[in-house]
Symmetry: C2
Subunit: 456 residues, 2 copies
C-alpha cells in the first residue's frame, strides 16, 4: 500500500541527507509504514540511500513489505553483494517469492553470493509450483525433539527464536524429521518444568502436503483457527510451515481472482492502478472479443425470425427485456454457485441437489417476473401494439417467455460452474457476461417459439 | 462445515449409548471435527446427549465451532441452567455473537443464570453495532502493567493464560486501562529476566476504535501482519482485541457479500444449502424484479424507433450484440473498480484518475471490438442485408455503435461504484446486471442515433 502521507518527509530527509532522521524513521516506525512511504514516487537508488541508515536485518524486514514488483525493481538498484546479504536475512518464503520473479541471470548471480545453507534452502523452495503449499511455505519454523523436558524445550527455543517465522507453534520431529506432534508456546510455558514434550504435545496434527493447492490450505487453516499449518512431503517429513498472515493474503487474492473472473475478465495479478495499461487491455479485450464473437449467434438466430419480425414489429420491442432477464437470473445463479464452490459449501457431487433446487427457484423467480411481465403488457399504451396484435396475446407471449427464459437462465447459470469444475477449469469462468451471452441466443429462440404459438 | 464422514460413527455411539466412545470422540479429535460431525443430520437433544460425556469447558470449545444458526437451535435443546454454565466458559466474542441472535426472552432468562462478571461482560459486548470492531472483539485479552520485570511478567501471564483468547500479544496498560504498548510473548521469553516491561514494549501500537468498520479492521491486521489488534474506546482505553482467526472470517464474509452483490442479488448470510428456499427467493427476486422494471425503458426507447425498424429490419439483428457489448464492458469495469475499492487500492478521491484511465481503456477496447464488428458485417451473407442497405453502411453503423457503446459501458461501469460509494452505499451495488440494464437503454439510443446518420 502506497503511503503518501510520509512521502514529503522522506523526500526532505533525502534532500538534506538527514542521516539521523532516516535512521530514526526506519527504526521507530512500523516496517509496513516505512515500506509504504518508500513505495510510489521514489527511485530505486533513493530507496537504498534511505535504507542504508538502518541495519541489514531491519532493511530485510522493511524490504519484505514492499510489493513484489517493487522488490524486483529494487534488486536492480543496488549492488549484488549487498542484495545477497539482505537475502540471507529475509524470511524464507518471501525470498523464494522474490527469486521466482527474477530473471534467471540475476537469480544465478545473486545465489552465487549467498552462503551455502541459505542457497540450498532457496533452491529447495523455488522449485515448488505456484499456488501450491510448497510455494507458500517457509522453512524457518521452530522445532524440537519429543524426549526433552518443558524447561529444556524453552531454553532451546530461546536459541531458535530470533530466526524463526513463528515460535508460537513448535513442531516435534523424530530423527528422520517426521512430524510427531505440535506444542503451542502457551502450553509450553504453562506446563510443569519437568514434564516431557511427548506428554505435552498434541499428536493429531492438522497438516497439508507440499503439493496441495493453496485454496485447500487456506480452508484448513481457517477451519481449525490455526496460527500456522505444517507442510509435509511424501514421506510425512516436515518441510515447511505456512503462517496465518500469508494465508490471509491467499484468501484475499483468491477472492479477487474470483471476482475478476465473474466480471468477465482475466484476473489482474497486481493492483488496479499499478498494472500496466496494455496488460489491463489485454486481459479485458480477450474476454470481450470472445464474448463478442459468441454473440454473433444472436444475429443468425434473429435473422431466422426476420420474417416474423417484419410482420409483427411490436415483438422486437421485448427482445432486450426478455434476454436481459435470462442474463440476470443466470448471473445470479452462476455467482451463487461459484462462491459456494469456492467456500467448499458445495462440491461436484452435489449437482443433482443444486439442479433440483435451481429448477424450483427458476420456476419461482420466473413466475414472479412473468406476472410482472403480464401486468406490463396490460398497461401498455395500445398505440404501441399495432392492429395485428391483441394485448392479451402479447401478454401471454411476454409472460410465458420471461418465465421460460428465467428458468432456463437459472438452470444454465447454476450448472455451468459445476460443469467447468468437473472439466478441471475454475468455476468462476462461468462469469455473468459469459452466462448472459450463452442465454441470449437460446432466449431469442424461446421467445419466438412462444410467440409463434400465440401470435405468428 | 458439515462432516459426513463421522456421522455414521456418531449415530452408532448414540444408539448403543457408548459412553466411553463418546468421551474419547469428544476429547481426542479436534473440536472443529467434533462440531462438524455433530452438525447436519442430528437433533438438538442428540447433540447434547453426545456432548454431556465431556467436561463443560470442552463442550464450550466444541460449541463455538458450530455454525451460529445451529448454536441458536441447540440453545433450545438443553436446560437453561446447563446453557448458562456453558456460556460462562465460552470465548467472550463468540458468546456475544450468540446472544445477539437469541430472542430477547431467551437471552434474558439465560443472562439471569450467568454469574455477575460474565453477565456484565456480555451486556457490554452485545450493545455494539454489527460490522463494527466492537461487535467482533473479545474482552479476554492478556494484559500487564509497564513497571514490572520480564520474569514477573511471565509469572503473572501464567496465571492469566488459561482464560485468554491469546497470550502471544500482551497489552500494557496504565491504571486507567489506557493502552501504553504491546509486548509479544516471543520478545518476553527472549528478554533478560530483570528487564522492565516498559523497556521491552513496542509503544507505537496499531489499534482501531470500537466504532470502526470491520473492513477497516481487517485491512489493518492484514497490512501489518498482526496476530491480534487492540480495540480502543473514545478515551483511548483498551476495551477488547480482535484476533486473526476472526478477521479471516470477516475477509471471507466480506468477499462473499461483494460477490453476491456483483452477481445482482442481496447477499446470503448463511451457506447456499443452509439458507431457506423462501429467503433465497426473496433475495434474488427483489433485485430481478427491480432490474426487470428498469428494463421497461428498453421497450419505450425501442418503440420510439419502431418506424425505422419497420423500414430497415436488418437493424434489429444487431441490437442484442450491441447492447450485450455495453453490458459486458460495463460489467468488467464495475467489477474491477469495486474490487479495487474493497482492497483500498482506490478511494473516492481517485475518480478523476479512474475516469481518465477508463476513458482511454474504453476507447482501446471499443476500437478492438469495433474492428471485429466491421469485419463481421463484411462477411455477412448478402441475403441478410435486404436491398435497402449496403454492407459498407451497415458496417459503419455496427462498428461505430459497438465502439461508442463499449466506451459508454466502460465509463458508466467504472463511475457507478464510485458514485455509490460517495452516496454512502456499498459500491458492489453496481452489479453486472445493474450496469447492463443501465447501459441497455442508452445503448439502444446510441445505436439508432448512429444508424440514422448512415442508413435511416
Amino acid at each position: 500500500m502506497v503511503d503518501l502521507l510520509f512521502a514529503p518527509e522522506v523526500r526532505m530527509m533525502l534532500q538534506d541527507n538527514d542521516e539521523a532522521g532516516m535512521q530514526t524513521f526506519c527504526e521507530n516506525l512500523h516496517p509496513a509504514t516505512v515500506a509504504g512511504a518508500l513505495t510510489g514516487e521514489f527511485e530505486a537508488d533513493e530507496v537504498w540511500r534511505f535504507l542504508q541508515h538502518t541495519g541489514i536485518k531491519n532493511q530485510a524486514v522493511i524490504f519484505e513489505y514492499f510489493p513484489i514488483d517493487w522488490q524486483v525493481k529494487l534488486v536492480e538498484g543496488t549492488g549484488r553483494q549487498h542484495m545477497a546479504k539482505l537475502i540471507e536475512q529475509m524470511s524464507h518464503d518471501d525470498r523464494a517469492d522474490l527469486m521466482r520473479r527474477l530473471m534467471p541471470r540475476v537469480q544465478e548471480s545473486l545465489l552465487r553470493l549467498v552462503d551455502e545453507a541459505n542457497r540450498r534452502d532457496i533452491a529447495q523452495l523455488v522449485k515448488y509450483e505456484e499456488n501450491t503449499a510448497g510455494a507458500l511455505m517457509t522453512t524457518d519454523y521452530a522445532w524440537l525433539p519429543a524426549n526433552i523436558s518443558a524447561s529444556e524445550a524453552l531454553d532451546r527455543l530461546r536459541l531458535q527464536a530470533p530466526d524463526r517465522e513463528t515460535i508460537y507453534y513448535i513442531f516435534i520431529l523424530d530423527e528422520d524429521r517426521r512430524l510427531k506432534g505440535v506444542v503451542s508456546l502457551r502450553d509450553l510455558i504453562l506446563a510443569p518444568r519437568h514434564k516431557l514434550i511427548h506428554e505435552l504435545m498434541e499428536d493429531e496434527v492438522v497438516a497439508v502436503r507440499v503439493t496441495d493447492d493453496r485454496e485447500h490450505l487456506a480452508r484448513e487453516i481457517a477451519h481449525y483457527d490455526l496460527l500456522a499449518i505444517p507442510v509435509l512431503d511424501e514421506q510425512k517429513r516436515l518441510v515447511g510451515i505456512v503462517t496465518h498472515d500469508d494465508v490471509m493474503d491467499v484468501v484475499v487474492k483468491e477472492a479477487t481472482e474470483d471476482v475478476h473472473r465473474l466480471g468477465g475478465m482475466t484476473p489482474l495479478a497486481e493492483g488496479y492502478l499499478e498494472t500496466r495499461f496494455f496488460t489491463v487491455w489485454w486481459k479485458r479485450a480477450g474476454w470481450l472479443s470472445l464474448l463478442f464473437v459468441t454473440a454473433l449467434g444472436t444475429i443468425f438466430v434473429l435473422a431466422g425470425f426476420q420474417q416474423s419480425l417484419q410482420e409483427v414489429i411490436v415483438l422486437s420491442l421485448f427482445i432486450p427485456l426478455c434476454i436481459g432477464t435470462g442474463g440476470n437470473s443466470g448471473s445470479q445463479a452462476a455467482t451463487l454457485i461459484t462462491r459456494a464452490l469456492a467456500l467448499n459449501q458445495l462440491n461436484g457431487s452435489d449437482w443433482a441437489r443444486v439442479l433440483r433446487h435451481e429448477l424450483l427457484m427458476g420456476l419461482a423467480l420466473g413466475l414472479s417476473l412473468g406476472a410482472i411481465g403480464f401486468l406490463i403488457c396490460f398497461l401498455l399504451p395500445s398505440s404501441l401494439l399495432g392492429d395485428r396484435v391483441h394485448w392479451f396475446h402479447l401478454a401471454l407471449v411476454v409472460s410465458q417467455a420471461v418465465m421460460a427464459i428465467c428458468l432456463w437462465g437459472t438452470v444454465v447459470g447454476s450448472m455451468l460452474p459445476l460443469i467447468f469444475r468437473s472439466l478441471g477449469f475454475d468455476p468462476a469462468f462461468a462469469s455473468s457476461p459469459f452466462v448472459a451471452m450463452f442465454v441470449d441466443v437460446t432466449g431469442i429462440v424461446i421467445y419466438f417459439s412462444i410467440a409463434s404459438i400465440w401470435i405468428l
